[in-house]
Symmetry: D2
Subunit: 248 residues, 4 copies
């Protein structure tokens, strides 16, 4: 038996990986694979309880309107959401009591946990820095995830009333101390062979704490999506960000 | 101004480090240093608001009785507590409304956080193992901390209804896969030059999460003790374990 | 221009990756792709200077006999070599003066360097241990590479007249201290999401040295093969093991 | 029995640590402890075969002249050497055939090996970066050791005819990609609790190689000094740099 799942964007690379993940899970049952030109009515005919949407900004809102109206929970990794879209989803959800919608920019559970743990640890350490490692074809440095992680640390430090990190450097080569993101230094390494890796380091008297996330391949979002599928029915309304599902 | 602090066991190595930590903190004020043969009445005369006790199992209960009776909060790292002692402390505390007592076996904040994060992360990863590293003079393997960490992971997995970790090994040298602690493999490395280090590794599809704690010296307990001193007044009653103070 | 290369076993997964590597190298020119049923005479017709052989134990000796006789250098990753086969190759090589043949069990250059550096470092550190990490479908523990690494360290220690590693452990859970490989402890971690990783750790007074190799994907042998192709003409005769080409 | 050792600068912190190291070594025998105002003739009276000099730039040349003239080998960690001083030492050495003098700026054997291995590995990897970690009281960034390591990598790349490291970054926060040292990016992390740590990372197709050195305390120079003491008699003449003794 298990939860009946429909996948939208089923023929895309991401959708295919989600389908493989659902099929490999004894507690989930794949009932519908929808791609462009397929009718959404298949979802209701097959009794889908949860859909996963990795489609396009142009398609996703129509998909959500249909699913919410038909009482189907939604796990969404499609990009392009802004406040106007979130508010539209919330409005649709007012017409129903129990439907849950999870929209998340990042389903890589190790990255989501790294960010969450970094915020939790931040108030207890004088020093905090972030080092991220990516393949050399990446265009931006640091990565968006590393910037967000540093901002989370900075915010947690401010809330705890902490001052600046200690740093006596008075003679430095340009760039040696990394980029300053809200007072947290962030370093970006570019390395052939690597995929995507992030390390957050905290230090205080005689000790350090390191939280490191390694992505070795392109399917690192799958476990987070499946976590979303399993829990979305227990989170009615709109939830933005997978971290809210992790019981942190 | 700041919180008025008394240190019991002031002449011991640990007590001396606590004193140095208090003196280095602008928000804390050292008002009393008590060692064997010193009278506890100094604490009340000097207006101590919080005491730190790193004394002996023989001395600590008398110290706590006195401090609780005089409305002084207590942060305790002395060993030798069992249920009978905890219950005695709770009984003393019933006579007062606002006194807080924190008793913790481990004040190394990076180790405490590692254990707490490991429990939180455990339900989201099929695989989990622990590797600890210590100097070669250590007598037990794995360390008590590593065993506790593995037990916490195992408990979190059970609560989440997870089965055994995947492991296809069918041909192994004796000991290669480590010690089995409640189904979590634990490996102990002994290395001249190292101090005390623990690494918890979690894995799921295409990714891993590593939480690592490094102790570089003997004073790694100090930041945790000072965190206790700052927060004990906000936690009336008996608290066992620093993790309860970390807002996790 | 560049070195003219022929690939034998061209349609296999490994051969295809070698072809892609040759095509991506400005200093190499692919002149022949040979698979089952293709004639070796293509190699001479196209003027191949070096061949790469990732075929089968059944095919490789015929390939080598032909190439050596025609003055073509050989880089061989095919398995199944024993002393009899090595001697046969040496005999064929006596008939020519300048042909080089490299036969290597492992072309992953980071793994080959890790093993070589581990041997070099071993005499200078009291402590040495190996930790390897693989996906949980691996059948043997520790990996063959980790065992070989430990044996190399043990040999280097013996040659330097060193005694046993220091280890005061007198109370251990079964397996906690890993497998004993010639007196060097080896630990095997099995982790969903990981590929193949090896860490060698050395320790002495107040310091440690860590040499770590990470394989993130299946093509990690390619750079080593291309190194072989570029250097084989400078190493006439039979060479066993890529490490001989690395100038260590 | 063992090698008869004299220590100059015996009352300094470094000299004391060397003395402890000699005393802990069965193959070495401490015969003289010399400090300011002590006469060097004690060395000859006691039959010192090797001296260790951690004194001052003002004292060291006189010490060397005396020892070389009396056929005593010298292991020197004192700073302040320039070409003029090296030449002076070489001139004194011409008068004797067998005396060895080792002058080294860095005796931390793990750091010396890291630099040497980095040079050896460099030609085989497209990508190379250095990350160093120090306590936040350090004034310069990156550390001198990290700069030298990067320069060694850059030189090895040039000698191998390699071009620039691959890096597609076209949108970066200032400093994110580190300091550019001869084309090798170097990142400096400053972290309360840490001591001195250096990580060199190399990457090529589907793999990386990491060489990491950790100093946990202030006595990390001792094993290198003792290695020098044991080998100096086998290296007549002037040697600059401990790496020449490591058989690399």
């Amino acid at each position: 038996m298990g939860i009946k799942v429909g996948v939208l964007g089923a023929k895309g690379r991401v959708g295919s990986a989600v389908i493989a993940g659902v099929n490999a899970s004894a507690d989930l049952e794949l009932v519908a694979e929808i791609d462009q030109n397929d009718s959404l009515s298949t979802l209701t005919e097959k009794g889908a309880e949860v859909i996963v949407d990795f489609t396009t900004p142009a398609a996703v809102m129509g998909n959500l309107e249909y699913c919410i109206a038909h009482g189907i929970h939604c796990v969404v990794g499609t990009t392009g959401f802004d406040d106007a879209r979130y508010n539209q989803v919330r409005e649709w959800l007012t017409a129903t009591e129990n439907v849950g919608v999870l929209i998340a920019p990042n389903f890589a559970i190790s990255a989501v946990l790294t960010m969450a743990f970094a915020r939790q640890a931040a108030p207890f350490f004088e020093s905090a820095e972030v080092v991220e490692y990516h393949h050399p074809n990446k265009l931006d440095a640091p990565s968006g995830t590393a910037i967000k992680t540093a901002q989370g640390i900075a915010e947690a430090r401010r809330e705890a009333g902490m001052g600046a990190v200690p740093d006596a450097t008075d003679q430095a080569l340009d760039g040696a101390r990394g980029a300053d993101v809200d007072g947290v230094n962030v370093h970006a390494v570019r390395m052939t062979g690597m995929v995507a890796h992030e390390e957050v380091i905290f230090g205080t008297t005689d000790q350090s704490l390191t939280i490191r996330q390694d992505s070795y391949g392109r399917d690192s979002f799958v476990p987070g999506v499946l976590t979303g599928v399993r829990q979305v029915a227990d989170h009615p309304g709109l939830t933005v960000g997978l971290d809210k599902y992790l019981g942190l």
